[in-house]
Symmetry: C2
Subunit: 319 residues, 2 copies
């Protein structure tokens, strides 16, 4: 039974979610470390190592951990570094040799690192909606828009380890300013923040139309989802717009790697009932005829609380 | 010495270029078959087989040919079929099992088929500017815009064998109608035909400015190139515009596969002196900061008459 388990760590702007996972993809124990209070990398790594050691010993898995898989923004699989992650105060404008630091703090346990969207793709392929698929594109719709591209069963890392930044392909030339400083990125329209921006624009452009969203002071994507559930016309139009932009971009992604499916994951993907139809319609209207009605659009089947941990942990099986 | 040679066939709308190639990438003998007079696939295959047999026997290589590599529009590496190639009268709106048919007509010699841009990528990697590169994108600037994507030393074929149609990603949403029936494709701006269309637009939009191009009745991309060589301001602006559109699209391609280089090939790539600077400038202005000034733009180093044959022939070494 020794070394039959792996640890998954999903590092986000607010928290690091940590869990112990078995070979069947069950999260046996988990915990959360608040991550936005650390300003230097070493103190975050030390706190994370303490948290993981406690989790492992409390759950009775000492000596049974094969390795640790970490998903983090701007994580580089080749180098094990987190490179200039604007949402992590301790990794802003810096290169952090995170895999090496965590391995040392964990007494030499091997650590694999990749970006959070690639981790999600591995998780989805190992345990989720993409099981059995060898060529697919994972799109994560969260605070930002991330992507993990799988080709022939392997994550595409590219020459430098940073391949798959599809949230920063241009959806609308000269469009909205994105968090990256450029204009018109897919992320500026189809992330949670992008949906909220669309809502604000919709309300401004339709001053005479009523909407539940007018009752909110700072509209969030969650408000838009809840309003759509309640039948709000504006909220549905906002998801239509979001879906149609996603579908158009997917048509370009298909021309690149000819995937069997595009898999959606993340908080916004919960709005499947409002996004699926406009995405599929717009994608099939926009794509080259050879791929019309050929590429599946799937939504993650992993339970949301486990998915991030599972995705990261799946990396560790190859250590 | 037996089977130390391969045959390369590059099928275009007008001609099929055929050659015998040795392991050092030297074209030892070549010939051209006019291809646009055939209306059914079997008669074209029969004529091609006769041409190849004659070429092989005339050059004294009977019994020394390992296999045949074919590059053709809409050629599918997985299935060996040419699928609905609008520029080939004998393959229009049809699926032609070309590799099988040619192999049979050649007495069982193995035949590998792929699309012309993938063949060019293999050729460039085996003999040309991409030697030693494992992650690059080949862009062919000819009558159309094609692409061959190489990842980890292998051509990306995707789930169905048709990956790498980057000429049909959208450069300008709602822009010019493309030959594929959609709007705004990169090909509608940056192919030879696209450059000629830009020239016509430029002349219309600048009625008071003089240009050598006004002396032409039907401006071609070759006229634009020659005018630019002669110092014509309009012609240079047309290449600036073409290069800046290519550069913006390259920025999106880089976000997909993070290549080490983008390699340009084809008739228009001869205009390197006018295209290089605007491409590189626009690409670096448009790309995510992590790739700024990192991705090389290379121009094919293969002599144009040999390149198409070499590219196709390179496929046959793995048969």
């Amino acid at each position: 039974m020794e070394q039959e388990h792996v640890v998954g760590v999903d590092i986000g702007g607010q928290t690091a979610k940590c869990g112990i996972v078995n070979a069947r993809g069950e999260v046996l124990a988990q915990t959360i470390l608040v991550s936005n209070t650390f300003s230097d990398a070493q103190s975050f790594v030390d706190a994370l190592a303490s948290t993981l050691k406690l989790l492992i010993s409390d759950a009775g898995f000492e000596g049974q951990i094969r390795g640790i898989g970490v998903g983090a923004p701007n994580g580089n699989f080749y180098t094990g570094e987190i490179k200039d992650a604007p949402n992590l105060p301790w990794a802003r404008s810096k290169n952090i040799p995170f895999a090496k630091m965590l391995s040392e703090a964990m007494g030499g346990l091997p650590v694999a690192l990749t970006n959070d969207a690639n981790a999600a793709a591995v998780g989805e392929m190992t345990y989720g909606a993409a099981r059995g698929l060898k060529d697919f594109i994972m799109i994560t719709l969260g605070t930002g828009v991330g992507s993990g591209i799988v080709i022939g069963g392997n994550v595409l890392y590219g020459h430098d380890g940073f391949a798959g930044e599809l949230g920063h392909t241009i959806a609308i030339r000269g469009g909205r300013t994105c968090g990256c400083g450029r204009q018109g990125c897919l992320e500026a329209y189809c992330s949670a923040i992008g949906v909220a921006r669309t809502a604000v624009e919709w309300l401004e452009q339709h001053p005479d139309e009523s909407s539940l969203l007018r009752l909110r002071e700072n509209v969030t994507s969650k408000d838009v989802y809840e309003a759509a559930k309640a039948g709000d016309k504006a909220a549905k139009e906002i998801f239509d717009y979001t879906g149609s932009i996603l579908g158009r971009s997917f048509a370009d992604f298909i021309a690149f790697s000819a995937p069997e499916a595009i898999v959606l994951f993340g908080g916004l993907a919960r709005a499947k009932e409002f996004l699926y139809e406009p995405i599929v319609r717009s994608m099939n209207e926009s794509v080259l005829p050879i791929w019309k009605d050929k590429v599946k659009v799937l939504f993650s089947s992993l339970s949301e609380s486990d998915a991030a941990i599972l995705g990261a942990s799946a990396l560790a099986w190859n250590l």
